[in-house]
Amino acid sequence: MPTLRTPARDAAHEHLRDARRADQAGLPAAGPLRTVLRLRRIVSNGRVTRGRRPVVASRPSNERSNAHTMGTHESRSTARAVQAGLLSWLLPGAGHFFLRHRGLGAVCFVAITFPYFAGLAFGGIKDSVNPRTNRWLFLAELPAGGYTLPSMFVSRAVERHIAQQAAQGRPVKETDYTAFYPESDVAQIYLAAAGLLNLMVILDAVARAQTGGLPTFHRESPPVAEPGSAP
């Protein structure tokens, strides 16, 4: 298959071969190797146009450049989507904030943090965030990972504290740590709703990162007809 050849590209390949040989010989990859790699990137992007025109071209350089740029754009978009999703998982609304939707991020933060901590306050941390005593509730809370994982460790610490108290023969009042009806019902509903709402927020942040800021369920407005054009 014919290749695109330019003097700059030939020189870059020659330098690259030298750099690889030096690398194989165990020499450190210092400044010249970096320069050669940069030159190689520039040449493969088709941005070097000095010297004579390409001798043989397998395809137009614009197409080559566009394909490379699109690939880079896609990988950047995926990286941003993963970052936004992880940030939203750690702190509700942080993914939107990262994507510069600061107002939406603040709304998400309030709308998930309030029910989560209200649920914790009414249910008590010992049984509300505990995979052993209520695994389905814990599963529903997991999408708010930045709140759930630290709360789980605190819950275990409280359990250990209660066990120590019991071992020392001190009386442990159950109502000091465990919620009962109706508080336990309200707490479970609040905590599960907060976790599942954060799942929506994570998916929305990922979708916005991939679409350049459009919401998950955006509706495209119909195209406006140009005046004088045929319907």
């Binding site: 939107h96 709304v107 998930i112 309030f114 249910g123 008590g124 709360s151 927020v201 919401p215």
Partner: protein, 81 residues
């Protein structure tokens, strides 16, 4: 530091709901659901207020209608069966 410790104690010892407060706990949760639902459909936060209020009202009225429906079914079962 004392405030932080008392804040931590808030989550260790469960709070008590005021008498008859269970039903009213629906409203803040519905508000949060409406906000998050509208966030997923909004392009900017400035356009969210009116749709969020409408969603909040829709959910509350819809749940009230469902509650009334179930209450009527309950009364019917008690009367005719």
């Amino acid at each position: 530091m004392t405030e932080l410790l008392s804040l931590g104690w808030l989550f260790v010892t469960p709070l008590k709901l005021p008498p008859g407060g269970r039903l009213w706990m629906l409203l803040p949760l519905v508000a949060c659901v409406a906000m998050v639902y509208r966030v997923t459909r909004a392009r900017r936060v400035g356009t969210m207020l009116r749709p969020t209020v409408m969603t909040f009202i829709n959910i509350v009225v819809g749940m009230a209608l469902i509650a009334v429906g179930f209450y009527l079914v309950h009364m019917g079962v008690r009367r005719f069966f």
